[in-house]
């Protein structure tokens, strides 16, 4: 049964008409045209759909939208802009961490959630945090460098 659900995404309040158990990923993409979060598996096993909810990295494909009500949701579109990217986005560009770009949303959002909590996270902690984010292009090494670089900047 569809109902009116109010969620706050990137600082803006939205009212959408959806079933409460619809995964947040589909609401972001289909109802709000925020396509940054990607569908990779639908099972929370690849990380491509990651968004930040109340400061935590969350697999939006596995979170019913009803559970996101009243929380602060941030997607990659809300991190920074093309003219003023977020430090994590800028670090990914500076370290040349992107290839096909499909895992990037998940990597950036997971890393941002970690660094916002712990900008001085060490290499092991970063690897652990990103272990749930798959990348088939194999740019892991540069992604780790990018996160380390962003962490240094955010620690200042």
């Amino acid at each position: 049964m569809a109902e009116v659900v109010e969620i706050t995404v990137n600082g803006a309040r939205h009212r959408v008409l959806v079933q409460g158990d619809t995964p947040l990923l589909y609401v972001l993409r289909n109802d709000l045209e925020l396509n940054g979060a990607k569908f990779g598996c639908g099972l929370g096993q690849c990380g491509a759909c990651t968004v930040i909810v109340d400061g935590e990295a969350v697999r939006s494909c596995s979170v019913p939208v009803a559970l996101a009500v009243g929380k602060k949701i941030t997607t990659i579109e809300g991190l920074g802009t093309i003219d003023k990217p977020h430090p994590v986005q800028k670090a990914f560009i500076d370290e040349q961490a992107a290839q096909c770009g499909y895992c990037i949303n998940g990597m950036v959002m997971t890393a941002t959630a970690l660094l916002q909590r712990k900008p001085r996270a060490n290499d092991g902690e970063v690897r652990q945090a990103l272990a749930g984010n798959l990348c088939r292009c194999g740019t892991h090494a540069r992604i780790l460098r990018a996160v380390a670089r962003a962490g240094k900047e955010m620690a200042q």
């Binding site: 920074g80 802009t81 986005q89 895992c103 990037i104 088939r136 090494a141």
Partner: protein, 781 residues
């Protein structure tokens, strides 16, 4: 010196939109009234379809259309082609199974498409799918590669009772037999190269549109080769003129060869879109990808190497069974047979004979995947050399050195099919050993042993053919088109899906035409916009795309000289072009290319009678293939208590010819190594032998390499320009995988050797290693 030139480490210019969530992948494209396709697939590995009742599904809420194989037959849809043909032992052409859009009366693998349900939402389509009733008669199935050739094995196709699609012999059998007869040493081993599921992070996608106003179809899909796919769909499936179809590959989240195959879903969305006159979108789910995508590799090879008492390779004999799957993927037969030349490796082995038996099985068809037969060939030769090293007591590196083709011998006709144009294999090896600090391996081995760990170091010397085939290489198309503001658009027949082509073509434009990057835009992936293309696969875009770019650029310069001569009031013969400027020889009178381009649109500024505009199209067949090569050094540590193998160090020196961009190159090498290492240590597609059911159906069962699995790699280049490419480029996309698969397994074997384990098949997962270590060691106490 200009920043955007060949050889410069220019950062990618295409990243900002991708990093800010502004990429446009197929699922990001949302069209008014778009509907959703759900494909009901066979749950059985082999079965007869006795009947399909779709009445309840048709009537279900939100359902717009339900299609079956009977509808496809009624609409006279064709079948997908197998692009390479081989022969059966009796000389007849291989059987090509009818690869239909929807199954007709039988299914041949779990996941085969049977019913297409199009509805207002994917949920409605899935609900309707549950109402479809199919009367199945389950048949016996066979999924294992070797088992498919055994007497009495279940028959996959009635037309082929022995399951053998083709037998392909290459080489001089008599010479090989004679060499084996007189050899001092002969080593033999049987290798199973695992089946893998490619799993790019973006699954397969297709969005089909029919426009009744123009009577034309458009397909958005994750494709590597849109022009090739357009021809396949037009000529083979729908029997339509090619210009009635437009194919667009937008941003694509990884392809690696798998998205080069023709698939039923691409046809389904177009077929359905015409019937309901609404866009039809299909997005693969991940568990669906495992049963519906084409898989890769899956060979059993028996390899024998004959050596003299000095360790010189006298002959190599290989017998391979290649699992083609239930159907022939577009390039499935290519993978099994066209890269065998790589078995010569970087060595002088004078006599080589290979027999490849292609078999059918009740599994997903196998298709090209990063390397497409080259990692398999390199694996066979590199593993048998390691085994020969242990058998003869000659050091594994020294044994390779004794047999390496000297740089002075180029061009070198190998003992099999390839003639290498260039390569300095020994120097590349020495550079890699230095980069890896090879002499210190022993110390690391001792340190690991002190911690109770097994430690292994392995190497691989590899070479592959790129930009082929060898006799007539495939062409590529590039158009360079200027506009009235003096900006250029490069229309490329290649497709960038992670390789950084926008940056690459800007470097070509800077280097050859002297254009700054902001004056160059790349368009690729759209068959309406790009005249002709072959696509991106097989490590060919930089080399063949570069050759075509050079040709188009030369035409631009030629016409530019005529215009410049007119503007400068000099004869065209007296005009030189360099660094983006046309100059009257011996003077300082010049005009730049941008000015010439602007002038070309103004009749008053042009020579009388000359056509306006500055534009050139080139579809180029390069003079020959190229041979990227490299030397890989891998070290692994294995915990005998858990079986976990960790790559501790990895060094590689690659010769990809002239390096276009070291940053892009390193990205490709890293990614290639990750995929080779993934197959060696983690990945394996597993079927249940009895039922043919796929057991590895999700990322919980199928392991992809993760951030905590791989160390930083040391990557360096030994640039030996290609003689068969006008820019000297060899190609780099697959080199990492071709070397990593053998190198990682070589290291694993080195770690296991002290336990007396001579041979261990991939994948070296913790569970398999743990078992092998337990079985090798006598229990203590």
């Amino acid at each position: 010196m200009r920043e955007f030139e060949l050889g410069r480490a220019v950062p990618r210019t295409e990243d900002i939109p991708l990093l800010c969530g502004r990429g446009r992948y197929t699922d990001d494209i949302v069209l008014p009234r778009q509907s959703h396709l759900y494909v009901l697939r066979s749950p059985h590995a082999a079965a007869r379809i006795r009947g399909i009742d779709t009445a309840a599904a048709v009537a279900a809420p939100g359902v717009l259309l339900v299609l079956t194989g009977a509808d496809a037959a009624r609409d006279r849809l064709g079948t997908f082609a197998s692009r390479v043909q081989r022969r059966r032992p009796d000389g007849s052409a291989n059987f090509v199974p009818p690869y239909r859009v929807l199954a007709f009366d039988r299914v041949h693998h779990v996941g085969e498409p049977v019913v297409a349900i199009i509805a207002e939402s994917i949920a409605a389509a899935k609900d309707a799918a549950e109402l479809v009733e199919i009367d199945w008669e389950i048949l016996a199935s066979v999924t294992d590669t070797a088992a498919a050739t055994a007497a009495g094995a279940p028959i996959v196709w009635d037309e082929v009772p022995d399951n053998i699609c083709f037998v392909y012999p290459v080489g001089d059998k008599a010479a090989v037999d004679a060499a084996f007869a007189r050899a001092k040493h002969v080593v033999k081993e049987r290798f199973h190269i695992s089946r893998v599921a490619v799993n790019p992070l973006e699954g397969r996608t297709a969005l089909g549109i029919y426009d009744p106003r123009d009577d034309r179809y458009t397909l958005y899909a994750g494709l590597q080769a849109p022009h090739v796919m357009r021809l396949e769909l037009a000529a083979n499936i729908f029997k339509l003129p090619a210009n009635q179809l437009r194919l667009i590959a937008p941003d694509v989240g990884g392809a690696f060869g798998m998205k080069g195959s023709a698939y039923p879903e691409l046809a389904m969305v177009l077929w359905a879109a015409k019937k309901i006159e609404r866009p039809v979108k299909w997005i693969a789910e991940r568990s669906e990808s495992f049963i519906a995508d084409h898989h890769a590799r899956d060979n059993v090879s028996t390899v024998e190497l004959a050596l003299d008492d000095g360790g010189k390779f006298l002959a190599l004999r290989v017998a391979t069974i290649a699992n083609l799957g239930a159907y022939l993927a577009s390039m499935g037969v290519h993978v099994a047979t066209n890269n065998l030349g790589g078995l010569a490796g970087t060595y002088t082995t004078p006599h080589i004979h290979v027999t490849v038996t292609g078999v059918f099985s009740n599994t997903n068809p196998t298709c090209p995947y990063r390397g497409a037969g080259r990692p398999e060939a390199s694996y066979c030769i590199e593993r048998i050399i390691d085994i020969a090293a242990r058998a003869t007591g000659i050091d594994a590196v020294e044994l390779r050195r004794r047999n390496m083709i000297p740089a002075a011998a180029m061009p070198y006709k190998t003992g099999l099919t390839f003639t290498y144009d260039s390569g300095a294999f020994e120097k590349t090896m020495d550079m890699a050993l230095a980069l890896a600090d090879w002499p210190s391996v022993a110390a690391r081995r001792r340190a690991a042993a002190a911690r109770g760990k097994l430690y292994g170091a392995g190497v691989a010397s590899v070479v592959e053919m790129a930009g082929g085939p060898a006799d007539i290489p495939l062409e590529e198309g590039i158009e360079i088109r200027f506009d009235a503001t003096g900006h250029a658009t490069v229309f490329a027949g290649t497709h960038s899906h992670g390789q950084g082509h926008e940056t690459m073509y800007r470097q070509f434009a800077g280097h050859i035409l002297g254009l700054p990057p902001e004056r160059v835009r790349l368009v690729n992936g759209d068959t309406d916009l790009v005249f002709h293309g072959r696509g991106t696969f097989g490590s060919r875009s930089a080399s063949v795309g570069g050759a075509a770019f050079l040709c188009a650029a030369q035409k631009i310069i030629e016409k530019g000289k005529l215009i410049a001569g007119h503007l400068l009031e000099a004869a065209a013969l007296d005009i030189e072009f360099a660094e983006g400027r046309f100059t009257v020889t011996g003077t300082d009178r010049s005009v730049d290319l941008v000015e010439v381009a602007k002038a070309s649109f103004i009749a008053q500024r042009m020579p009388r009678g000359m056509e306006l505009g500055l534009d050139a199209n080139a579809v180029v067949t390069p003079p020959g293939p190229t041979f990227p090569n490299g030397f890989h050094v891998c070290e692994v540590e294995i915990d005998p208590d858990t079986g976990v193998a960790t790559i501790t160090r990895y060094a590689v020196v690659d010769d990809v010819g002239r390096v276009v961009n070291p940053l892009l190159l390193k990205g490709q090498i890293h990614g290639g190594i990750a995929q080779g290492a993934g197959q060696a240590l983690l990945e394996s597609v597993v079927y249940d032998p009895g039922s043919g059911q796929l057991l590895t159906g999700s990322f919980m069962d199928y392991g992809l390499p993760r951030a905590d699995d791989l160390p930083f790699f040391a990557v360096a280049s030994n640039e030996v320009p290609a003689e068969t490419n006008p820019l000297g480029i060899k190609g780099a996309g697959e080199a990492g995988t071709v070397g990593a698969l053998p190198a990682v397994m070589s290291a694993v074997h080195d770690a296991l050797a002290p336990l007396g384990i001579r041979h261990f098949d991939m994948p070296a997962t913790p569970e398999r290693l743990w078992r092998a270590i337990r079985e090798a060691k006598p229990p203590s106490g």
